[in-house]
Amino acid sequence: MKALVWMGKKNVEVQEVEDPRILNPRDCIVKITSTAICGSDIHLYNGYIPTLEKGDILGHEFMGDVVEIGPKVKKLKVGDRVVVPFTIACGNKCSHCMRQQFSVCDNTNPNWHIAETMMGFSPAGIFGYSHMTGGYAGGQAQYARVPHADVGPIKIENDLSDDKVLFLSDIFPTGYMAAENCEIVPGRSVVAVWGCGPVGQFAIRSAFLLGAAKVIAIDSLPERRAMAEAAGAVTIDSGMDVMEELKALTGGRGPDASIDAVGMEAHGSAYDQVKQTLKMETDRPFALRQAIRCTRKAGVVSVPGVYGGLLDKVPFGSAMNKGLTFKMGQTHMQKYMRPLLKLIEDEKIDPSFVITHRVPLTKADKAYPMFVEKRDECIKVVLDPAA
């Protein structure tokens, strides 16, 4: 099959590789019909996520048709059309899955020792996202092996197009959980969202779905701000004095909740650019710092943006003295996929709004630099594995 393979910093190739096969009794094999490049793939492409190895197949947003099932798969059958969540979970077997904390499942990361060395304890396995989270071959490919097939993949049993349901694989649930973490009081809460990339866009729309009185979106790119405004958000150019703008838009209170949908490669701080380049810090937490400072007293900071390691100069004194609450984590996908599919079926949201580019999988290596450098007003790339 063809697959998009990481070959080093800023170097990806489409290669012919072996087809995946069933390795464990609860696996299935999915023939991929649609797959996408995620903003978090930028961190991989740029070489900021440790334990990624040359030759790893990337991609964690994919859907397709089940073509093979392992002997212990009970719910899925060959021919089922499924969307696959990016985190792998054992179901309600470990105590975290039992509590719907699926992204920190105990039993799906074969490289738990790497994760525990770096983070203390190991989160769940993730497709195509370095060996720290399992080293699972990703979904920017024509086929993928999906462990615990009865737990993760969600069956699509109607004729909704791939475009409408594909983003149930990551960015819609991720934006939704970020908004849910804001503890929105309908009709009253004001939510500020740093970053109007795909996750930010879904966070904005989810905040409105959950009843936010106002959503303020912050980004440097006009096309991304325009997409946020189309959802009803007020926007701020991140080049402005964000604190003063936010105060002006909230009667001086500041936003009740802030969402950092940017993560470890924020722009805007030369200090962090230099330190990250010199490997003196692993992440550039510019958006997070700003979010902490700007959030209203006793407010919430919700972090769907990916961080990899150690952060420098986080204003923890501000967070402590203002009494902030932090909510974060990889998305507990299996908790959100079904209710969010319902929202799509009920036409409360059409996730295809975010797609700006369609590229054949065979040209995915060209799509990466376009997306990473945000050329051609690129916001979301969908790859066609058949083309």
Binding site: M1, K2, A3, V5, M7, E13, V14, Q15, E16, V17, E18, D19, P20, R21, L23, N24, P25, R26, E53, K54, G55, D56, I57, K72, I88, C90, G91, K93, C94, S95, M98, D106, N107, T108, N109, P110, W112, H113, E116, F121, G125, G134, G135, Y136, A137, A141, R145, P147, H148, T362
Partner: protein, 201 residues
């Protein structure tokens, strides 16, 4: 998962006082004081009943499923078993073990028989975790490392130490008992330098 890895001083008296100093060390059975060297303690909480976990462990051959390092375990009688572990340079380390304490659904302890290439002793305990967390499984292993402490230090550097092997076996045991399978990526496709390519695009 928790770890305690310490070099026990030789001499039974010192060793006992060291054991008293740490409650965790108490799981290392004091009756194994004839084994000198290194003590490893690892724990995992498994959301299955103690009886089920005990039953798996009591059939010692089952441990071959969860110990990743190549090992052959053969039961010779109800309480006696033979262990053969592969070692560097095509060597094998072998010993006979005997179960010295066996409390149904609660704990098993064992030690190597005289003449073992690596003297060792250990125990596994199954204790109820708080609330609905399941069962706390604590494995304690004492062994005399080949090559003494220097050998153990080298082994630790290469992660091929008893500590990480006990740890890995416990994690795999947990996954097998809870999720029914041990997670793996061995045999999956990869590109570039990891695997010979079928051809370029």
């Amino acid at each position: 998962m928790a770890t305690a890895l310490k070099n026990s001083p030789s001499g039974a008296a010192t060793k006992q006082s060291a054991a008293r100093a740490s409650s965790r060390a108490n799981v290392a059975s004091s009756r194994n004081r004839n084994v000198r060297g290194i003590t490893v303690v690892r724990a995992a909480t498994i959301r299955r009943p103690a009886a089920e976990l005990y039953a798996f462990w009591r059939k010692l051959e089952n441990l071959m499923q969860v110990i990743k390092h190549p090992v052959t375990i053969t039961s010779k009688s109800e309480n006696e078993s033979h262990w053969s572990v592969s070692a560097p340079a095509n060597q094998r380390v072998e010993w006979d073990a005997v179960i010295v304490d066996d409390e149904r659904d609660r704990m098993i302890s064992w030690r190597s028989q005289p003449g073992a290439q690596v003297e060792n002793a250990g125990s596994v305990r199954f204790e109820a975790a708080p609330g609905d967390e399941g069962t706390e499984v604590t494995v304690s292993l004492e062994y005399d490392p080949p090559g003494g402490r220097l050998g153990a230090a080298i082994a630790k550097l290469t992660r091929d130490s008893a500590s990480s092997q006990v740890y890995d076996a416990l994690r795999r045991f947990k996954a097998l008992m809870e999720a029914g399978e041990i997670p793996t990526i061995e045999g999956q496709p990869a590109g570039g330098p990891q695997r010979p390519r079928k051809g370029r695009k």
